[in-house]
Symmetry: C2
Subunit: 389 residues, 2 copies
């Protein structure tokens, strides 16, 4: 098979994404089919992250001959796929996580959605899935969020989590770039990622497994980055920690948490107050919340802000010398998540908390980041980052 197949790929596929004869994703062609029966809403207090889905979904199919076919907004329902579809065998899949918020005036808002579109196109490129027009997908997401807006919870801390996903659907077992793909978006009303709400969590540093490496795929939001994390996460959970902390290298560099980027606010070796997060070296997910925190912190200009390597021995030393001020994770699902403990090599490192806040235990800077971002997300503070749809 491969000789002709490869020749065909060689001459047609590299250009298939930029071929002007292929149709781009076009929101104006959307076919709308409304659900005949609407599901009952779930009370905010009963929401479990990622368990409840709205009445509709967006779908769009792509093939290498035609490009993107007309997208659809249609009832949320099962996908019917051949058992040979490449997504089931070679993890031909990538996704985004974003949220729609309802502000006090009833407007629906997205937070920096252009960043999700750009990152998703970088993810698809990395695994040979097709490119798509991000602006068009955002138009579709806008239509979809308005159609299903009764599902957007109104309380602060609640939102409609949106999950754009692209999968390879080619029905063939040869290991080749997919000739067919499906883009879909589903939505689920969510509250805090952790049942404990905005409250400090415990991490277990994983020394037995490595998440990502140079020239790998750690900076792409592809499915294959996640399955290998389920086992370390279960090991952490078994020991009573909410998430695992991924390390890298013989010197045990901090990289990221199971589902979040990681920040340390400390007095560094030079006794400077410094907010530090691991650099985007290709093995770290370039989080939207991560970028937002760095941008806010640089705007405050109250302490040094660094994207640089930090190792666990350095962190341990800082904890023991009382130089760590606060630590937190950051991601779309949790926004900001204070950290109270990190297990490392059999020892629990205790991170300072606010003793006067018995609920979240979050320190003042962690709270401030969380509040500033939420103020923008819910439209309580004007910002270009918040887009009314």
């Amino acid at each position: 098979m491969l000789s002709s197949r490869f020749l065909r790929q060689a001459f047609t596929q590299p250009s298939r994404r930029f071929n002007s004869t292929l149709t781009g994703l076009d929101a104006s062609k959307v076919k709308l089919t409304k659900s005949q029966t609407l599901k009952p809403l779930v009370a905010n207090k009963d929401l479990v992250f990622g368990h409840t889905f709205t009445d509709h979904m967006i779908t769009a199919d792509w093939n290498e001959q035609e490009g993107w076919l007309a997208p659809e907004i249609r009832p949320y329902e099962n996908l019917s796929l051949a058992p040979s579809a490449v997504v089931f065998h070679y993890a031909s899949e990538c996704f985004e996580g974003m949220k729609a918020y309802k502000d006090k005036n009833g407007n629906i808002r997205l937070f920096r959605p252009d960043m999700n579109m750009a990152r998703m196109n970088r993810s698809t490129a990395r695994i040979a899935l097709p490119q798509f027009e991000g602006k068009e997908l955002l138009k579709l997401i806008g239509d979809y969020a308005k159609l299903d807006q009764r599902w957007i919870p109104e309380a602060r801390g609640y939102s409609l989590y949106l999950r754009p996903t692209m999968i390879g659907t080619q029905e063939a077992l040869g290991v080749n770039a997919p000739s067919n793909a499906k883009l879909f978006v589903i939505g689920c009303p969510v509250g805090p990622y952790y049942k404990t709400g905005f409250a400090a969590i415990k991490l277990m540093a994983t020394t037995e497994y490595v998440r990502a490496w140079p020239r790998g795929t750690g900076d792409a939001k592809i499915g294959g980055n996640y399955a290998p994390g389920l086992l370390p996460q279960r090991m952490a959970a078994k020991a009573g920690y909410q998430q695992n902390l991924w390390l890298f290298g013989d010197d045990h560099q901090l990289t990221e948490v199971g589902t979040m980027n990681l920040f340390v606010l400390w007095k560094n070796e030079s006794n400077e107050l410094e907010l530090v997060t691991p650099p985007l070296d290709g093995a770290i997910l370039p989080g939207v919340t991560r970028d937002s925190i760095l941008s806010l912190a640089r705007g405050w200009n109250e302490f040094k802000v660094s994207e640089r390597k930090v190792t666990m021995p350095e962190l341990r030393e800082a904890v023991k010398n009382n130089r760590v001020v606060e630590m937190f994770g950051a991601g779309t699902a949790c926004i900001v998540s204070p950290i109270k403990t990190i297990e490392y090599m059999g020892e629990d490192l205790q991170i300072p908390l606010d003793p006067n806040d018995s609920t979240s235990q979050a320190g003042p800077y962690t709270k401030r980041f969380n509040n500033e971002i939420m103020d923008i997300q819910y439209g309580d503070k004007e910002s270009d980052w918040s887009v009314v749809i």
Copy 2:
């Protein structure tokens, strides 16, 4: 969500695979539903690898409360899965590749199928999917292969490729070990993996991307290992090479080919004739064909057999000093695949071929490995490796 969820996992999931109250996979419970319409067979000459599927498939569902439900052999048909199913988002998927052969007496044979079952259970364990009873799945595969035996091509070089696959089906977006899974097996009649048949291929050494890493998942047959290879493979194809060759480390160690393990037969630095393949250091797929070749070569006892590191600079040096005798890839899909060229850092390294064989160009040792393995697979030579079902 996580606190109760994690506690539940912590106390129930680690033991769920070994919990005697959960039901194991049981072939004797199989529910058989025969297809009402049988598809037309495809002539051997028209077979494209992984494109034609038989009339039936095996399926079995698992959940963490009950274990394995009764398996089914039923008509080959689409899977219906929620768009929130974990397989679409976090690459909760692993697979095997094996083949059923028809011998000259009409018996159906499998080749070392116990190795596939053991490896698949190692793969599922690595990504927190459930264990299954390999002997029971082999019984089901036997029933299935007999039912669809008209699809097993009879010519040498042809077989029924079998694809056992397990996917996580839990309908939830939280990043957690799946509470639900589906095992399925599909089959497709195949000839040579490459359209060129048993003929020497060209490889392009990939220096821009890295496939696997120590403490990663390179030794597990999980979907997530494959999607990141589609781009380097397309780049190789664009330049006229059939597959990419994965390297590792600053010294550019040879690891494996896109879909095969790799062997070098050379006169080493000590002028010994040596067959060398990269060692199973956790980042190399432990191939069944790889193991078989090592075993055959050790049995012949005609040259040194080594599992050790070899770097591209060492190989380049050996090519230039005419010390390389033959090179070949090895895998279930292709069995043995002679290699004639390796592009490395802009230079084509030419590997010796048999000038008297204008068809395969394969050297005598490469041919001998291929023939000995096929003799066993097709039952022409008695061996414990070949199992009549």
